[in-house]
Symmetry: C2
Subunit: 131 residues, 2 copies
DNA sequence: TTAAAATCAGTAATGATTATCGAGTTCTTT
DNA sequence: AAAGAACTCGATAATCATTACTGATTTTAA
């Protein structure tokens, strides 16, 4: 079994992605780590997130205001995107019954992943009348 | 009832978006129209698509290779995105029963729209061994 | 007719993401 | 331990989709 050989910075980036449920952008990860790792560069964050995407250990959830948003939790679950504040919030996944593939297999498609996104206004924005 | 006052170019852009099921990017729409409307500019395509988005008459389906993909069909339906060729293909929508909101309403969320995206390999790419 | 509003081409600006490059650093094999 | 391959990274430049700006032209409404 191959040992995963994480560098300090790569590991830190991955930890941030796994420890938060804010589904952050690359810059947010960078801003989180910069104080404790002053010589971190934004390119390194992008480079390592690209590696995680290739590995399949991190997923792109959606794109909010031009920024990709990532999730270190690759268990199947859905997301709610607030059209007002841009927050991306975890949602219990709908039951993943086989008919959810919409007969794609029978039509010759290979389904590798499935995303469910809800868009709307989150409770905080409703409460603060920001919408 | 307010008359919708479409300019020639705005109308042409909307027609292209409604007449195709390729879920095109802005540039694709531009390339389609440029031969018949030689003085069309790409900025105009973006500007009018932004209007359609605000109106709700056109939707952003997903982002493939950095390009937003649009759909003039706003009836609820799902989409399959080919990870190989980037095509976006219509899929019969899953039955839209109320439990698909995952209890979001009860939690204070206002759900304005819901997207289901499948990612994988389309039949053509499988056949051509492009994956 | 006339002034405000809408539309647009052309171009510049923005901003997220990616590529490049040279300099360390770590691993491997001996 | 030494040599060299492979890895990692900061800094910076480049790319590219999208947006903003500007001045001209057209349409609308009174």
């Amino acid at each position: 079994m191959a040992k995963r050989n994480f560098s300090l910075k790569r590991n830190a980036i991955y930890q941030v992605l796994c420890a938060t449920d804010t589904h952050p952008s690359a810059r947010w990860v960078y801003d989180q780590l910069k104080p404790s790792i002053p010589d971190l560069s934004l390119g390194t964050v992008y480079r390592n997130i690209a590696l995680f995407k290739d590995e399949g250990t991190v997923r792109v959830i959606c794109n909010v205001n031009g920024e990709e948003r990532y999730d270190g939790n690759v268990e199947p679950h859905s997301h709610f995107v607030c059209n007002c504040c841009g927050r991306v919030i975890d949602v219990e996944d709908e039951s993943m019954s086989s008919d959810f593939t919409s007969g794609l297999f029978e039509k010759g498609f290979t389904v590798e992943s499935r995303y469910v996104l809800y868009y709307g206004i989150c409770p905080e924005c409703k409460e603060n009348n920001l919408h």
